[in-house]
């Protein structure tokens, strides 16, 4: 009797990439729901818009590269990229900017480098940086959280703002939009206001920007779910948040009137989302256990440096992109000691 042959091992666990990506998407749901609660329908419209664009372009790009598009599209990685990018975008961003950003992420950052697994940079963050540099005004104009403005923009008007331009909402517009807490802090500090004065403003909640702080908490929940499921390791989120807290705490301890309280850094911007969902992107992050600790810690430091002295209010995207470049070098110098290697051998 004849039999087919294959290479060992002949057993295979039941893990697959789609399962990994699906769990990431599941973990994003609580934080996404919180964003929707505080910032309205624009969040969901952006996700849908970016998601559809990403899948369509991934399909197109793979066809052009002469690959079978189905396995790659069905692994959900394009959806994850699109979703993460959409979460980082202002809820009323003009539709074509969302589409343009997604196209940049999928076509340039991902497919031009060879598709899934070959991109040296995090596609969502590269696209975010691309949009921020290209459209700085639109990209820093956020809706105020509903707890501040006292109302949520209805679906119909959100749709109108995104697809026909926010000018059509003229009477409402000013009351609804404003700077993000990070931006607010930055502007106020640049006018030499004391932190104690700045904190009088209603934009601040208990431990971060009002509204924003709770969004961060729900992303934290999703992130802990991913660690519990073993989808991500604790190392990058832990080291990134710990180093951010540490360095922010240090400066705050030196002068609490010119440096915001450490929790501000954690719960006002994208730090939590970045720590659990963005910095942990396995393709572009460091891959060795020790390397991940270093990688995360340096992202934390860069986030603080860029937020405090840099030109942009939020810094996660730039910090992650900079460290993406350093990841291969970090990996090279942080190989684990292999079984049986003598202790002093450390090349």
């Amino acid at each position: 009797m004849q039999f087919p042959v294959a290479s060992s091992p002949h057993l295979q666990g039941n893990n697959n990439i789609r399962l990994v990506m699906a769990q990431v998407l599941l973990a994003l749901i609580p934080g996404t729901a919180a964003l929707w609660w505080y910032f309205g329908w624009g969040v969901l419209i952006n996700i849908a818009l970016a998601g559809l664009t990403a899948v369509a372009l991934e399909w197109l790009a793979l066809r052009m590269r002469g690959r079978n598009p189905w396995p790659a599209v069905s692994d959900l990685s394009a959806v994850v990229t699109a979703w993460l990018l959409a979460l980082a975008l202002p809820p009323l961003l003009p539709w074509w900017q969302t589409v343009l950003g997604t196209a940049f992420a999928i076509l340039v950052v991902k497919q031009l480098f060879g598709g899934l697994g070959y991109n040296p940079f995090n596609p969502a963050m590269a696209a975010y940086a691309f949009l921020l540099i290209s459209f700085p005004a639109d990209m820093t104009h956020w809706l105020l959280p509903s707890v501040l403005s006292g109302e949520t923009l209805p679906l119909e008007q959100t749709w109108q703002a995104i697809f026909q331009g926010s000018a059509t909402l003229a009477p409402h517009w000013d009351a609804l939009t404003g700077a993000t807490p990070l931006d607010h802090m930055r502007t106020e500090l640049s006018q030499n206001h004391m932190i104690s004065e700045i904190r009088q403003s209603p934009v601040w909640g208990d431990f971060g920007g009002r509204g924003w702080e709770w969004v961060g908490n729900w992303f934290l929940l999703g992130g802990l779910f991913l660690i519990w499921r073993g989808v991500i390791s604790w190392r990058i989120p832990f080291s990134m948040l710990a180093s951010l807290l540490l360095i922010a705490g240090l400066f705050w301890a030196i002068d609490p009137e010119t440096h915001p309280f450490p929790a501000f850094h954690l719960f006002s911007g994208a730090a939590i989302l970045g720590a659990f969902f963005i910095a942990t992107d396995p393709v572009s992050a460091s891959t060795t256990p020790r390397g991940q600790l270093i990688y995360g810690a340096l992202i934390g430091v860069l986030v603080f440096v860029i937020r405090t002295w840099g030109g942009y209010p939020d810094a996660v995207a730039f910090a992650v992109l900079l460290m993406n470049m350093a990841a291969p070098t970090i990996d090279y110098y942080t190989q684990p000691r292999v079984f049986g290697a003598r202790k002093e051998v450390n090349d």
Partner: protein
């Protein structure tokens, strides 16, 4: 004294996989029927192929030496039954390469008549270890756990001290139960063999390492040890985790010692032997029997009545399947060894060899066709399970891009090919396949380099020889010239004058003949 201690050490990574052992553990080992035609490959062990010492047409008896170890690292082969040698030629064998290899083909006469065997060495404890090693060498014993390294060579410690002899009874791969069954059915042989090996290598203590999923084997061995009241030999039960039966992993589990990277267990004062090898040692020393059969597990959903058989070497696999009730309708894949490290066979018309511990006839559910591979997303699942603490994703990256120097930077040769990484890979990448590819390429490159080094050395030697000869010639000429220069100054040498006169005559003659090419020498 039997001990049941939880190990203080645990190796990194590993897998908890369903063991599927129960289905072949039901009955004691049965003697397999002798097939009408046996094919005995000359190469069943690490080292050089054995050299046939029988002729086609020759009658042989069971246990008769038919092929001799051709080198120090090689192994004897004996006739598994009595009969006639009908052919010595290339035959298909069970080898990952799929290439045929030289075999002695023996047609059984059905009598199964033994040759006169050497005397048993019951008082081995008073014999010189070298004599005992000679007996193992005669018996053709090789490591039966799968590595098939000649035992007489492995037990020759060349003066190095062995503190601990470890008997590997972990049998960590799923499905395989031949060692489990052996320990249940012949615990005495296992202990005898362990004690003989202890004497040969002069080990202070013996540790038998066994996974805790073999309660009946543990009980049988413990009873045997307690009944005999042996000191310095203990049974160590380790938690079931693949690959605890890997030599380096088991040593670490039992002693906390790490075998140095690219080193040997002897470097840390340890020698490992598989439990089936110990039983074969007992057979050779206490009964004078050569290694002509082994216990083989035949299991999987593709075979009607899974179980264990004692099989003469050279028996075709199909004959074993027939003896176990034949194939079921689900038979889909044939694997020799375990499902993690064994290799798939293209046909069942292949002979059982000394290293064949198990054949799995798997259904498509048990061992599905490999899923198509997706790109590596560097998720690091493989890092979590690698018992050698390698970075499989990095190794894969470099092996795939044929950057073999980098694979060695990543310690490619510390990979034991256990397959844990590929098992957990969400992208279904056949990682081990890539590592084998890289190793083979590096070995081939190394051989190429050695060849060209050799050629270069020969060329350099040749060059040097030519230069030396030229230099010597020049030196001679110089001496002669000097001599010529010196002599006329000193006056007339009659000999020289005579030569000059002769040469002049010759020159005149030549000139007369108009032959200008000729020159005086």
């Amino acid at each position: 004294m039997a001990e049941h201690a939880k190990p203080a050490w645990d190796f990194h990574g590993g897998l908890h996989i369903e063991d599927h052992k129960e289905k072949s553990l039901g009955a004691p080992v049965r003697e397999a029927a002798v097939a009408p035609r046996l094919r005995i490959p000359l190469q069943q062990h690490i080292g050089n192929a054995a050299e046939p010492i029988v002729q086609v047409g020759e009658q042989v008896l069971k246990g008769q030496l038919i092929a001799r170890a051709s080198d120090y690292v090689s192994a004897n082969l004996h006739a598994p039954t009595s009969g006639t040698v009908v052919e010595i030629a290339e035959q298909p064998i069970a080898h990952p390469s799929g290439l045929p290899s030289d075999c002695i083909v023996l047609e059984s006469d059905g009598d199964d008549r033994w040759i006169e065997l050497p005397e048993p060495l019951a008082d081995y404890a008073r014999l010189d270890p070298a004599d005992l090693r000679e007996r193992l060498r005669w018996a053709g014993i090789v490591g039966l756990g799968g590595a098939v390294f000649p035992t007489s060579v492995k037990t020759n410690t060349t003066g190095r001290v062995v503190d601990t002899l470890i008997i590997n009874a972990a049998e960590c791969e799923p499905y395989i139960t031949c060692d489990d069954r052996l320990m249940q059915d012949q615990p005495g042989d296992v202990i005898d063999g362990a004690l003989i090996l202890q004497h040969i290598v002069a080990a202070d203590q013996v540790l038998i390492g066994i996974e805790d999923n073999k309660p009946r084997a543990i009980a049988a061995l413990r009873a045997e040890i307690e009944a005999r009241g042996i000191a310095n030999l203990s049974l160590r039960v380790v938690p079931t985790k693949y690959p605890s039966g890997g030599e380096k992993q088991l040593i670490y589990l039992l002693t906390g010692l790490e075998v140095p990277s690219r080193g040997l267990p002897l470097d840390v004062g340890i020698l490992c032997q598989n439990v089936a090898t110990t039983a074969a040692v007992a057979d050779a020393v206490l009964r004078g029997r050569p290694l002509i059969s082994r216990i083989v597990t035949l299991t999987g959903n593709g075979v009607a009545a899974p179980g264990n058989l004692r099989v003469p070497i050279g028996t075709p696999i199909q004959s074993l399947v027939e003896q176990m009730g034949g194939y079921t309708a689900q038979a889909h894949r044939l694997i020799m060894g375990g499902p993690m490290m064994g290799f798939a066979l293209p046909s069942d018309d292949l002979p059982v060899v000394k290293g064949s511990n198990c054949f799995i006839v798997a259904s498509e559910d048990e061992i599905p066709d490999p899923a198509p591979a997706s790109p590596c997303i560097r998720c690091g699942e493989c890092v979590k399970v690698c018992p050698a603490r390698l970075l499989p994703q990095q190794l894969y990256w470099y092996a795939r891009s044929r950057d073999f120097d980098k694979t060695q930077d990543q310690h490619l040769f510390d990979c034991i090919e256990c397959g844990c990484c590929a098992y957990v890979c969400p992208a279904s990448i056949p990682l081990v396949h890539y590592y084998r590819f890289a190793k083979t390429e590096i070995w081939a490159g190394e051989r190429e380099r050695q060849k060209s080094d050799h050629a270069r050395r020969r060329h350099e030697f040749h060059d040097a020889r030519l230069k030396r000869q030229e230099a010597e010639r020049q030196a001679r000429l110089r001496k002669k010239k000097e001599a010529l220069r010196d002599k006329p100054a000193t006056g007339k040498d009659p000999k020289k004058a005579a030569i000059e006169a002769a040469m002049k005559r010759v020159a005149d003659k030549k000139a007369a003949q108009n032959q200008e090419q000729e020159k005086e020498t």
